[in-house]
């Protein structure tokens, strides 16, 4: 228990964010199917967001920095609109190759 409390949450979540980025990059790079590339790309994005929010975190007793929070909110919406466009392009591609 005593050892665990020594882990700085900021350190932990920054590392987790970068690990998500790496995992996502792996999938985006290697998957052949576009939908799987899109899922992996979103995991990559989540990693970037987590890193930013972990940097904004200033401990239990201080309010977090609102600027990265606003950036990440913007990022989530931009990511979902890009995802939506990509997925409709994929659906259209599959419709076209079916016929």
């Amino acid at each position: 228990m005593a050892g665990l409390s020594a882990i700085n949450p900021q350190f932990l979540y920054v590392c987790a964010g970068i690990f998500l980025f790496a995992i996502g990059l792996w999938g985006t790079w290697l998957h052949a199917h576009y939908v799987r590339k899109i899922i992996s790309l979103n995991v990559m994005g989540a990693g970037v967001f987590l890193t930013l929010i972990a940097v904004a975190y200033r401990g239990e007793n201080l309010p977090p920095d609102p600027v990265p929070h606003a950036l990440v909110l913007t990022g989530i919406v931009v990511a979902v609109s890009a995802t939506a466009l990509a997925l409709v392009i994929i659906r259209r591609l599959e419709d076209a190759t079916d016929v």
Binding site: S5, H31, I39, P64, H69, T74, I76, R92, D95
Partner: protein, 312 residues
């Protein structure tokens, strides 16, 4: 006190472990449907992580937009006729593991670089103090909304423009075959849920001025209502049937934001520099229209861009 700290440490480790395992499973699973499900669960756990890191705005947005709508959009690509779609890495296993080692080396390098500059962040680029100092003049009391709609309103305007560009791109692709089956049983659910979702969207929009919430979360709730209506069999998903009204709704957020900015510029205030006394009302007007545009955009994105009558 020490015990409590230790408990937080255990919870942090658990959350991170679950998050990373879900991400790995979503990326590596060979079953496409399972990968989508895991990605949705990943989004929900991520929402918990945001709450843990004192980011309730992002937790709301993640649960509604990232996990909810993202999941619905992904599911819409699954075909009706096939039951299981498998995707394995097509490369030789040695290449797959080589690439895995390479991305981990890259990740370690990024982590090392970032963690070595992290202690200097507090003195160098942190802008939190500047936001607190100016908050009283922003027209709202919630710092994240103040940054989004006032201090960095430019970013939010461009973000709405990105949404508009995406939906224009989707509409330009023409009709896509719908892959989901409408379910009459949902109409019973819709009767209860849709009014509730609209009410919640209104509340979250209003609450955004002083507490977590705002246009994006509210817009996502409206889109949830739209998707539910579509799945219940309403061809237009509650959107107006007149095409010009749909177009007007889609551009309203970006358009009014831009007009307010230009109007203030003409008034001699500078682009998107609200006069302090009226800032609250300008922000509320922009957010209301942005909510409508975001809701319509995301609903239409799910439907493939253009509402169409069911081929009965």
């Amino acid at each position: 006190m020490n015990l409590l700290d230790g408990l937080w440490g255990v919870l942090d480790l658990l959350l991170v472990a679950v998050l990373l395992l879900l991400a790995m499973a979503a990326v590596l699973s060979s079953d496409r449907r399972r990968s989508m499900m895991l990605f949705i669960v990943f989004g929900l756990v991520l929402a918990l992580v945001w709450a843990r890191l004192h980011a309730p705005d992002i937790a709301l947005a993640e649960a509604a937009i990232g996990a909810g709508l993202g999941g619905a959009l992904l599911m819409a690509t699954l075909r009706r006729d096939t039951h299981q779609q498998t995707d394995r890495f097509p490369q030789h296993p040695a290449l797959v593991w080589g690439a895995g080692v390479l991305v981990m080396v890259l990740g370690t390098a990024i982590a090392w670089g970032l963690l070595s500059i992290l202690p200097t962040v507090e003195q160098t680029w942190r802008k939190g103090a500047a936001v607190d100092a100016q908050l009283a003049f922003s027209g709202v009391s919630h710092p994240v909304t103040a940054v989004l709609l006032n201090f960095r309103a430019w970013d939010t305007l461009l973000e709405l423009a990105v949404l508009l560009a995406a939906i224009l791109g989707i509409r330009a692709l023409g009709y896509v075959r719908s892959t989901y089956v409408t379910e009459a049983a949902f109409s019973q659910l819709a009767v209860w849920l849709v009014p509730l979702l609209i009410l919640m969207a209104g509340y979250i929009l209003w609450a955004g001025a002083h507490s977590p919430g705002g246009a994006f979360q509210a817009g996502a709730l409206l889109a949830g209502a739209g998707i539910l209506l579509r799945l219940a069999g309403y061809s237009y998903a509650g959107l107006p049937t007149a095409r010009w009204l749909v177009r007007l709704g889609l551009v309203a957020g970006t358009g009014v934001f831009l007009l307010v900015g230009l109007g203030l510029l003409g008034w001699g205030q500078g682009f998107l520099h609200y006069p302090v006394a009226y800032a609250k009302w300008w922000i509320l007007l922009i957010e209301m229209l942005a909510t409508v545009s975001i809701g319509m955009t995301l609903t239409l994105a799910f439907m493939g861009g253009i509402p169409q009558k069911e081929a009965a």
